[in-house]
Amino acid sequence: MGTMINIQPITRIEGHARVAIELDDAGNVADAKFHVMALRGFEKFCEGRPVEEMPRIVTRICGICPWNHHLASVKAVDGVFGVTPPPTAVKLRRLAQHLAWIPDKLLHFYFLAAPDFVLGPDSDPATRNVIGIAQAAPDLAKKVVSHRQRGAMVLEKWLGKVIHPVAAVAGGFSRPLLEEERQEFLAETRDQLEFAKFTIEYAKTEVFPKYLDTVKTLGVINTGFIGTVTEDGTHDIYDGKIRLMKPDGTYDDFAYEEYTDHLGEHIEPWSYAKMPYAKKWADGLFSMDLESPLGIYRSNALSRINVCDRISTPEAQKELELFREQFGRPAQLTLLYHWARLIELVHNCERAIELLEDPEITGRDIRAEVEVQAGEGVGCVEAPRGTLIHHYAADEEGMITKTNLIVGTTHNQAPINMSVKQAATELIKEGTYDQGILNTIEMAIRAYDP
């Protein structure tokens, strides 16, 4: 065996991981792996807990997307108890979902991803970060910090906790939206929409054009895609059916409860993260071979942008059309995740505004009657990083007996591994590499926002 290159920790991502690249005797890449070493065991320790407590426990799976776990969980809980929340409660949950995505998108684009593009992939690592950006573009940085913060504070003002929320409850919501809050948040969200439109314009004119060559090559792989759409195929992050698209653009749609018919998980001996794959493709085989992958699909923004037939709001739909004209459907280039994410940022602002303009949003009928019973429920929403699947079963006391969780980034485990290997193989030749090259490999990971 030749040299091992160890990139650890992977930085400017939202979790823990490392990359190990193995070079052969000639100094070319023999193998590369993305290792996830954390295992907290939520699927086990939720057993025995009261079903109605689950939305307050599983938030801790992720401190960046706790709202999404909170909401997927509460939908699974509703399923276990066989209860349908009143229309206003569903709208409140949906509003929280769209509001929570706004600061998340700003965080990823400006804080985590932008340093590579604005300062350069091989710039000084000591300043290749959000603080470096603040020094290079102080006015923009101030706007970014303020918008991200204010985006988060809307939820905090309304529902107490923005990180690890508590307001979605079995059968509905714990607190309504008051009229004065509605007006305040509407003004705030309209301002967020303006900033979102600025952000996508800025990215399209100042950022992406400089990196078109990199976009065409870095981490590029050919896969299928997963995402949630409404009955008529419209992009939706709160509710609908799951669409699983093959690399050729054909797809299957299925209900949440049918996920085990379509999705399997592959386990490698060198990572705690499981690798979901499409088990109806390729006779149920799984392979991360770069030339002929089997069963591999991707999640997160690019994936949702690929699987949807349309977006329901006008500005985001315009952006989707422009994107498709340029890159087709499905678009495979990995760095396009950044672009797709900004289309969704615009959509989230637009959709939150629509919800805040809906007269029913301030309704007072926010919780249905709940009775403890034995049952099973599958709750799904889109998290920024992909389709969240929470599957619970409970006994007649309403205590959890079984859980199965597939979380957003898990869907991308195999694709990230493939993109890392592709990038490393292209960039490291005859034993030559430096920090800029290793960081460029990390850029392929950051595109997935794991």
């Binding site: 109605e52 965080l107 985590l112 590499y433 290793l438």
Partner: protein
């Protein structure tokens, strides 16, 4: 000279790091003249083995202040934590996972083998598989708070800690202070709801399957105490501060009960014991709390508060 800060996350969710970001301008204005972030994986490209990964051993930069979120769950967490202790003057345990284990310490209810058995051999989406072992750091015997492994100078509990307190502690250290702590008050001490202090007469505790009685148009000052409405609320045994320096407890303002995310009021107190006493004292049937042991230790499963029970009692 700027005060240098290094930050690491162990068995954590990154909520504490988002809470650092939520401090906003107060911190941003200090960077980089007064405060310099030398290591924080979420934001800064600083690597354990150097920029090209050829270092011999896991190394963190020297810093005045070290912030560690998350509990210790494996050998690598332990190594990072010990290296951090070595390299910083003042070590801060940030968030309830670091101070008390947090929600992931619910795992301490089960032996490790049960966790692996469930996760890798009992899920409907895959066939049973071997537990991954290649290059994966050794799993610890249990989830431990960081003060069970190294000496800790400052504790900032909370899930997540409020940005006010993170800023307050950092500003105190910038001022040259070496100590900082949250006041020892309970959530109830800062909760404005109405308490009538009538005995519940031995009533069983209700599960939160309906919303509490309150008028949404009226402030919290007009809502009756959640415990007195007959539901479990852990405010009485939980340290105050979730809403920052001012403001009402966060979950209560969402018209939800407290689940104890700021940990015990005093370091080392046992919320399970104290809560059983508190419930009895207001005439409620303390034994009727659903899933009592896990519920009353929801955020504090480290420090041996939660341990596997013999199989027949599980």
């Amino acid at each position: 000279m700027a005060v240098t800060v290094a930050s690491e996350w162990l068995n954590a969710c990154s909520g504490c790091e988002i809470s650092i970001l939520n401090i906003g301008d107060v911190i941003l204005d200090l960077i980089p003249e007064k405060l310099e972030l030398v290591h924080i994986p979420a934001l800064v490209d600083s690597k354990y083995f150097g920029p090209t990964g050829d270092g011999e051993s896991l190394t963190l930069p020297q810093a005045t202040v070290g912030l560690v979120s998350g509990a210790v769950r494996n050998a690598e967490h332990e190594e990072v934590l010990k290296e951090m202790r070595e390299k910083v003057d003042i070590l801060i345990a940030l968030g309830t996972c670091a101070t008390d284990g947090g929600i992931p310490a619910q795992a301490n209810i089960f032996p490790n083998e049960d966790i692996f058995e469930k996760v890798f051999r009992d899920c409907p989406t895959h066939e049973p598989a071997e537990t991954p072992k290649d290059v994966i750091p050794l799993y610890s015997d249990s989830v431990t708070a960081i003060d069970e492994v190294v000496d800790v100078d400052i504790f900032i509990p909370g899930c997540p800690p409020h940005p006010d307190w993170i800023a307050d502690a950092l500003l105190a250290l910038l001022d040259g202070k070496t100590e900082w702590s949250l006041p020892e008050r309970s959530v109830c001490d800062t909760c404005p709801v109405i308490r009538e202090e009538k005995s519940a007469g031995g009533a069983a505790i209700k599960r939160p399957l309906e919303n509490f009685e309150y008028n949404p148009e009226e402030p919290l000052e007009k809502m009756r105490c959640i415990m007195e409405q007959g539901y479990l609320c852990l405010g009485v045994v939980t340290r105050a501060g979730c809403a920052g320096k001012e403001g009402t407890p966060r979950c209560i303002s969402a018209r939800q009960s407290c689940r104890g995310c700021f940990g015990p009021i005093r370091q080392g107190a046992k919320p399970l014991v104290d809560m059983m006493g508190a419930l009895s004292s207001i005439g409620q049937d303390a034994k009727s709390v659903t899933d009592r042991r896990a519920m009353l230790n929801r955020f504090v499963g480290a420090h041996k508060n939660l341990r596997p029970l013999p199989a027949r009692n599980r």
